[in-house]
Symmetry: C4
């Protein structure tokens, strides 16, 4: 049981670092996971760049984005992004908020990202656009108030991702690996879409192609291959997360984790 809890923290640190290593996250951005043993809680690292997150940095939050234990460390200001989406979307098990260079030009020009290659279909036919200005006027563009988080979650709706005007994107997944591959493929799609537009006309996949190709990144064949690849690249860069020390464990999860979602993933590849 203790292993499962450690596994969950480790997997979240691994996913954070992987997304940083693949250029989705940089100094900023964060990845969370719904608590595997309690759907009314979620797990999110303390305020730290995602490439540096360690299993011990992972803390537990209620769905209104309050820490379960009084923290001795700084927290991300934008925790409500995660909490409000977990509230609105019971099917979502993992959330990533990022400012990837690939999507920023779309966030600035207000141009929709559409699926332009088979793997890009992972983000779905439509990625809605959310402009904080519409509902809240001038802000610092950070999503920190509960009502801002709820507004973003409404814009996301039943989609796989939402673009945030002048800011970045938020992506969701049914598990951590779907989240990781969807985030990466959506960024690749954005890069190709921009270049295709410079070259000529962007012709997106048809709705039928998008639906069919959108399932590719859930094929066991593919999940295993990409996870091994991104892991090896992370190891090659010397950026694997440290294993959690048994002695110095700081903040055990409030309930013994069933470890279902994540440990199932681990054996899948």
């Amino acid at each position: 049981m203790a292993n499962s809890v450690n596994d969950v923290r480790y997997e979240l640190a691994l996913a954070s670092r992987m997304l940083a290593n693949e250029g989705v996250l940089d100094a900023f951005g964060h990845v969370s996971l719904r608590h595997p043993g309690d759907p009314q809680k979620f797990l999110l690292p303390r305020s730290r760049s995602p490439q540096l997150v360690e299993p011990d940095d992972v803390l537990e939050f209620t769905l209104d984005a309050e820490p379960v234990r009084t923290p001795s460390v700084r927290l991300f200001a934008e925790r409500v992004i995660h909490g409000c989406i977990y509230q609105a979307r019971p099917d979502v098990m993992a959330v990533c908020h990022h400012h990837a260079p690939a999507v920023l030009p779309f966030c600035i020009a207000g141009v929709p990202i559409v699926p332009v290659f088979h793997l890009g279909a992972a983000a779905g036919e439509t990625v809605p656009f959310w402009d904080q200005q519409d509902e809240f006027g001038d802000t610092n563009l950070l999503v920190v108030k509960p009502e801002e988080g709820r507004s973003l979650a409404r814009a996301l709706g039943a989609h796989a991702a939402v673009l945030m005007r002048h800011h970045g994107a938020t992506v969701v997944g049914h598990d951590l690996r779907e989240l990781v591959s969807r985030s990466i493929f959506m960024c690749q799609n954005a890069v190709y879409q921009l270049q295709a537009q410079m070259l000529g006309k962007v012709v997106p996949l048809s709705p039928g192609e998008t639906r069919l190709a959108g399932a590719i990144n859930a094929m066991p064949n593919v999940v295993g291959r990409t996870w091994e690849y991104w892991s090896c690249r992370l190891a090659e860069a010397g950026r694997m997360p440290p294993r959690r020390g048994k002695a110095k464990s700081r903040a055990p999860l409030s309930k013994p984790a069933k470890g279902k979602a994540v440990s199932r993933q681990r054996t899948r590849s």
Copy 2:
């Protein structure tokens, strides 16, 4: 003789890793080789990212893309790409299917890649365009059915490469080294073509220049130089394939390989 067999597997792993290291392949894509001792078979790794392929991962397939031995590992879904091309093109000894970032914008915009610099002539005057949608309607864009593979091979025709709408490209060669250099030069050509178009007007090589310059990458002078360079870069990145362990050899080739095509290459540089 045993060395020749090992050489073939090793060279295929080397080429896979080299193409990954040069940015043609990423988590996806695959390289195959017609069986050097039996033209009715081909060699292809098990489902694994090309940068990670080891000699032991290389399996044997019939030209209808069925594994010669019942595999205990996952296989690439798109094996028919290789099988159908080896059936249709007796001159082809090596095939690479990839989703290189360099070609994707062309696959999306539907703009033809034309030879724009001397080394880019390696892909020939015309790179045909194949749109799976034309013949098969909505699919997930993977080429998995024999009829899809045959359709792609027909589109390739006698050419050196074919672009696949919303998907990537497939490149062929008369030997592994021609395949590698052609794949790399075609990607460089695509990058320069896109940038030249942003700068002004793209003027391609004349047909005569294309024919003459297309032979450059077969000059012994050039083959030796590029193979040494890409090998050194791979070694510098710490990504050379492991040598195949004698003890734990898993799936010996069905016939003793003559090792002609590949071992001749090795001594050529």
Copy 3:
């Protein structure tokens, strides 16, 4: 006290290397700090590429850009950039002059950089444009005469940065960390602005958003996170500055440094 002096030199070398490691500086460019113990002096390395600067390279200058001690090493030709800005702007504690690839296209096309994402607001609503040609006619474009430095400082005015036609940019900060983050975010902003323009229309932040978001990079939450991240990336690249040897100290600061600005920063994160 001696530690504070060493700290200041070390922090300046660290900031130089960090900005080089993040792509703002290359063979050229320089970072200075107002002398923490004497506002009528500033600290600037000897002529050396910023990635290579060591604490021992840091020299002391008067605000008219003359070295306090006769130097035995070469000096940067453009010292007046720093001196004239420290004279004109008592609030400025740190200055960076650079030729970042991200800003050069704007310096050439004469297109203003405007804030297009929340972190880009760090450079303010307006980045003025200075063309040396206007006041001085044909020059080699280096800013070496006092009157050239004063002209540039006038163009900067009360802003956070100034673009220099056909040359680069100069950025200022109230402390070294603000300078570093502002320089990096401004470059990211420039990259995204260029790509957004290629994609469609660039819509900048509103003045209110710019004012509010401009304060993000001073949030303790953010300062600590970015400084840790950029430091770790520098360490990962093996580029941390050497600690200053006690024995071979070459040019001690003329007055015992109070070490206020910088040592406060150090404990902030």
Copy 4:
């Protein structure tokens, strides 16, 4: 004296690797030096990718591009580029031929490279354009015949560089360090010019600015700084050339080198 000869070979290997490390050269391209002891000869490596060139690879050629000693190794096909330029331009001491990604778009679109930032002035006000097709019709675009080399040298004229349609560029220098910095700055200039054009209008330096700024990269201040920087980057990448073994010296220069041009450079920094 022997040291001087070794120095010359070493410096040439160093410059080749430096230009490869900075992205000017790749698998292809070559750098030569006029023989420091005999202006009727030049030094050029055997056919090998420039990043891999070792001092022992450097051979001696007459100005009609014939090897002084019968070689046991393969030679570059395009040696006449060097020989014909040394014949036509007594002031030229060093030549680099390359296919840098930065210049290829200009070679394809037929758009002139013009100086757009102060360091870019190193390539002069005009970079002429040579199209092999004009005089020789369809070729493989390699410059291998003496008449092709002479035609290219005529197009170069008294300029610092010449663009070659569909092929690359050839750059010349009065010494090796001028050649290296000019080649690098010209590539940076090309990248910025392309992006400036995408952003708006390209405004080049005035003729007066170009003349004045063109001298910057000969300032001792600058030569020392860039040479240290590019050397350190090469060392950091683990790509420094090996020192020439005394025992296994293969092809001593035909005359004891005076070692003037190059050894003077060495002490300059």
